[in-house]
Subunit: 340 residues, 2 copies
Amino acid sequence: MGRQRPGTPTLEEVAALAGVGRGTVSRVVNNAAGVRDSTRRTVQRAIAELGYVPNLAARSLAGHRADAVALVMTETDWRLFGEPFFTEIVHSVGDALTDTPVQLLLTLVRSDTERQRFVEYARGGRVDGVLLMSVHAEDPLPDMLAKAGLPTVMLGRRSGDESVTYVDADNAGGARDAVTHLLKGGRDTIGVIGGPPDMYVAQCRLRGYREALEPAGVEFRSSLVVEGDFSEESGHRAMRDLLARHPELDAVFAASDSMAAGALNALRAAGRRVPEDVAVIGFDDFQPARPTDPPLTTVRQPLEAIGRTMVRLLLEEMEESPAAWRHVILPTELVLRDTA
Amino acid sequence: MGRQRPGTPTLEEVAALAGVGRGTVSRVVNNAAGVRDSTRRTVQRAIAELGYVPNLAARSLAGHRADAVALVMTETDWRLFGEPFFTEIVHSVGDALTDTPVQLLLTLVRSDTERQRFVEYARGGRVDGVLLMSVHAEDPLPDMLAKAGLPTVMLGRRSGDESVTYVDADNAGGARDAVTHLLKGGRDTIGVIGGPPDMYVAQCRLRGYREALEPAGVEFRSSLVVEGDFSEESGHRAMRDLLARHPELDAVFAASDSMAAGALNALRAAGRRVPEDVAVIGFDDFQPARPTDPPLTTVRQPLEAIGRTMVRLLLEEMEESPAAWRHVILPTELVLRDTA
DNA sequence: GTGAAAGCGCTAACAA
DNA sequence: TTGTTAGCGCTTTCAC
């Protein structure tokens, strides 16, 4: 497991070649002020000549920082890897870090072994902060990191009273908007394809559904609620169940776009026209699975803003460890794409 | 950008509490031999009491290794993120590392800035080796890493005479098998949906197609070749072009499963029955995009073995930097799934 | 089997 | 503006 990369020049050798002290070279390398321009150039030449690259372990040890942050995906998130949701978050996090010297590290945590390994990695000082995509209520990782005093920001929350800094979308509000839109369109038998009930995000979206029904005077019926797992396949299955139970339904709100896509196909297979007979609204603003799919009305999450905000909060916590955690909830937007 | 995590206990404090020397604690922490069992237990108790976690920067600095490897995805690979291809590789790489103390770091390189940042990270000694998924011919990253003396293993190769250690599937052979199978089934007007011509993997798969035609006495016609970019959409488009040019074709070999899925839909939209009228074979053994899709005959790459082999080669190069690079080509397998 | 001591290469504080 | 110096916390000889 050992490795050597001998022959790597050190600060000291650069200093010797440039005929200056170690401190000066360090200042040049770190772009610090207080170095005469001519000196700086001399040093830069020496750096180039030797092909000097700073030893990051030494820098970390002396400087008490790693200049790196981790974006952790748990087993659960991993399934979302393919979703534009995930892609966009990673992209926006990456974008938010481009102007900093911070390296972004994606890590996959699938088992307790890996969880343990990662915690040791993080506590060992290899990263200055952690972004978590995990949202499952029972995941101990957020608390392990928080207990270790590591700046941590979560995407979404595990429950209503989350004790770790997080950024979330207004899930209940988005769902409310979607269902209200359907009601205004004259639909009143609206099925719901919900997410896993143990995920807070799913609870919120279901709550939004109920909150929209009330002011419209439409009674909530639990037989109109079917449970999915955010996957397209589960949406398909759920839609078939719903149709069997309520052939008369005229609209469906799905808690994710993947499930909405599955529902769409199930409806078509059953001979229903979408959206004429049954309107479908999804959540997340993923692109349709196939280019041949019709555009779907959906609740858009501001993914770019979510990623950017997560980074902002993390960097802030890294600067000055704040006394308390903070929460940011970002608004969603109903994107109408149906022709009917 | 600064950060502190004060109050973290050090080796020295553990040694003091346990009433032993620093060296002994180090041996215990690293599970090294040569410590009396009773001493070991005393030390472990002290470690637990203090909640000691090794400072990885110090360990790296003194031990000349990082106990971490990076799996780099370039912009190009990023699009594959969603594909089971990618997922499986990452999983098998992760699996291959579970029994080692090596942390796997996924990193995304989208721009020259990020490329530069990563190279500094790697050359700075934060990782002991690098796994590359990039396969584009013009990517300078492999050479940058090789020049820096970093153990590097690529998935796929950039050209026929690759100068960096790599693991690849037998792409030409797999394509040959697929097309031979079609020919044996009595199909002789076989369209090809190829990948980007600047990618070696695409060249190999196209070559395999030609190699299969020859012994069968079927003439190669360039009008039967259409270029895609591995995406489902490009497969759809390509299939329409092919149909327009050769309405009489009775089979299609697509250089990726995504393109095969796109082709499948285009064929259906054109009223062709699959596989009765037109047989389709893909490559990669991705799952069909939708649960409602019929199973597709495909050329399976041994993804698990590829990931495992990459890790094995990398660990070997990390142990003893070898004099020369090595190549491993793994066989593919034709998986028949069509009913016809 | 164990302790002491010499670095690893850098940052940052302090002198000059 | 620049050089000097004291660590950062660990691994690894080398004595004992």
